[in-house]
Subunit: 381 residues, 2 copies
């Protein structure tokens, strides 16, 4: 028999995918499940014509940085929307989703054994991607302040990752916090990786990217996702923004791993950019109102969560249950037919939390689900 | 400033991409270039309607193995076309192109410092991908026999990679050779990685995959590409076939790096599978006839190449030129406006070769180009 590597044997499956697989199986058996575990918001966007796209181009490879016109369009959007100036010929690379963009950036900065600082709760793929790039994730427990991060920086530290706005809490970083993290990065010659896949979910211009402060991008690497912000998560279009040298190094890796994202979908998004936004922007505003209603309801019934104000995620405390978060979620799913994701998937300090997503269900269903979660916490305490 | 990793600093750009970038620049200046450097065949396939596809599915993530119906369709095709039995629930994973599929398989088998044997000329991304997975490429010079491979196997060897049919020679492996390589893999407990991206370009049922001999896939990992075989290289749909455990380990990596390929394109290919084939199969036959005509013409004018009978590539000797293959190609491009790829990009033993692709130009243009290449060899000898 052929033999396997240690990193693949030790890699962990995403907890959210594990639970969603159980949901699919239950649904196939005809069981009605209240799904609050999906990492997607369902937007009702029409499908426009593909026949309008340039037929001589859409079947073939595109430039390994992504098609120039789409890079230009994104650069204009970033300047207008987030005050981030960028040269679309040299400082942006479009690839097959922001996941692989983050991984390639980690490969571009980590030597084996180098460390990356990330606070819990953190998206499950950050530690796994760091390990797959032969780095070491240094995970800060959820109850520490950003101003404590320096204690976790060592001579082996190469980067800090933040998710802004944050999955699973919905937290939006302040200008003061971003400025502090950039100062920390400058002091220690490290990178600040800012995963901004949900940036358009922040209302009232409150979203601050490090790219609007570190305009030279000497320490800043930004990841964003056309897929998430446009409600087309399955199209796998993400991009990375940084300085010219970083983008060049990622480009070399991209040429050997990906070549380019699906050319036809790049042209589609380029062609219908404003039209898609005209649908998604009002729906994001609606989602924001729904979030406020859910937050108010949770306060009413005494469910606590970590601070947050954007996206469709809440990270809810299940104290005083006696169950672990995995036991809690498995029983909630099989006894009450409600699917949420165990906090343990977001770090060892988070085993008394669950992630709730309000992206796909109706408000009254969500309220009903929250009531049952509250009851289940009491029942198992 | 943030700091970079050694692997990204040392990664090399693909030689073919480097030359094609010069071609794009020349074309933009209005220069007419005979392009024989592209890794694509241009098929004239119509674009079918996307409106027929299931709208509730196409925007969202799909199963991380790829959509079940497309896996089933590919499994049926493999059994019928290549006599490879496979369980579509467990032994195939569809992802964003065969490049990332190969890379993830290398991550699934290599510990740092493990070796992979590959013979030159070899596709430029194999050695680079092996290095990006912290392995060591052991490159066999082009003039050795397959039956010499065992000399290059050490206790650190984990795999042999072959490309069948072969880019850049067009060579098709015989059943005896595949059987021998599988025996070698079994003897040393290593994997045989078979990159079969051009399998449909082999006529008369002469294509033999190791999967048709090692039916348990204990040592076999197959990569193939819907993109290449269907003339839609820019759509990034590749897949990996192996035993259940290997696919499970690759699945875990895929979930953290890719999630799934573009869902909408999976549904498109599923929906129009037979229709697309009804266009591409006759065009592949035509290309095969064109290959025979080009081979005959090269023999006539005394241009020599390495043995091969399929695909749209020829690996042509430029002996007795005094130039290196890079000097030769740069001068051929800037003085004669013909673009071909330097052999050096396919290994150090190949510096007296160039890769010629006949996928995109007309036969009489190609003949004219070959005449000029022959003259240029004499002129520079």
């Amino acid at each position: 028999m052929g033999r396997y590597s240690n990193i693949s044997e030790n890699a962990e499956q995403a907890m959210s995918i594990k639970y969603n697989t159980i949901v699919y199986d239950l649904k196939r058996k005809g069981v009605k499940v209240l799904v609050m575990s999906l990492g997607e918001a369902f937007f009702d966007v029409p499908l426009y014509s593909f026949a309008e796209l340039p037929i001589s181009e859409i079947y073939h490879y595109s430039h390994s940085l992504g098609i120039p016109e789409l890079r230009k369009k994104l650069a204009d959007y970033f300047l207008k929307q987030y005050s981030i100036p960028l040269n679309s010929d040299k400082e942006i690379l479009i690839t097959s989703g922001s996941k692989i963009a983050i991984y390639m950036a980690l490969m571009a900065i980590l030597n084996p054994g180098d460390e990356v600082v990330v606070q819990e709760p953190c998206w499950v793929s950050y530690p796994e991607q760091i390990k797959l790039a032969y780095g070491i994730p240094v995970q800060i427990p959820y109850d520490r302040s950003i101003y404590d991060y320096e204690k976790y920086i060592t001579p082996r530290t190469k980067a800090i990752i933040i998710n802004n706005p944050h999955n699973p809490t919905g937290y939006v970083y302040t200008k003061e916090e971003i400025t502090y993290l950039l100062e920390l990065a400058a002091k220690h010659n490290i990178w600040l990786l800012s995963d901004e896949a949900y940036s358009d979910f922040v209302m009232d211009g409150k979203f601050i990217s490090p790219g609007s402060i570190d305009k030279e991008k000497n320490h800043t690497i930004i990841f964003n996702s056309i897929s998430k912000n446009f409600g087309i998560s399955g199209w796998r279009l993400g991009y990375i923004i940084s300085n010219e040298k970083m983008i060049h190094n990622v480009l070399k890796i991209n040429q050997h791993l990906i070549t380019c994202p699906a050319t036809i979908l790049e042209y589609y998004v380029l062609n219908y950019f404003e039209k898609i936004l005209s649908y998604t922007v009002p729906m994001m505003k609606e989602l924001h109102e729904k979030r406020k209603a859910v937050a108010a309801y949770m306060k009413d019934i005494g469910l606590e969560c970590l601070p947050g104000s954007a996206t469709f995620y809440f990270f809810v405390s299940i104290i005083p249950t006696k169950l672990t978060s995995e036991e809690f979620c498995t029983r909630l799913l099989t006894e009450e037919y409600i699917s949420v994701v165990p906090g343990l998937g977001y770090g060892y300090s988070c085993d008394k939390f669950v992630r709730i997503s309000i992206g796909t269900s109706k408000l009254d269903e969500i309220k009903c689900g929250l009531d049952k979660i509250k009851e289940f916490i009491i029942k198992t305490s």
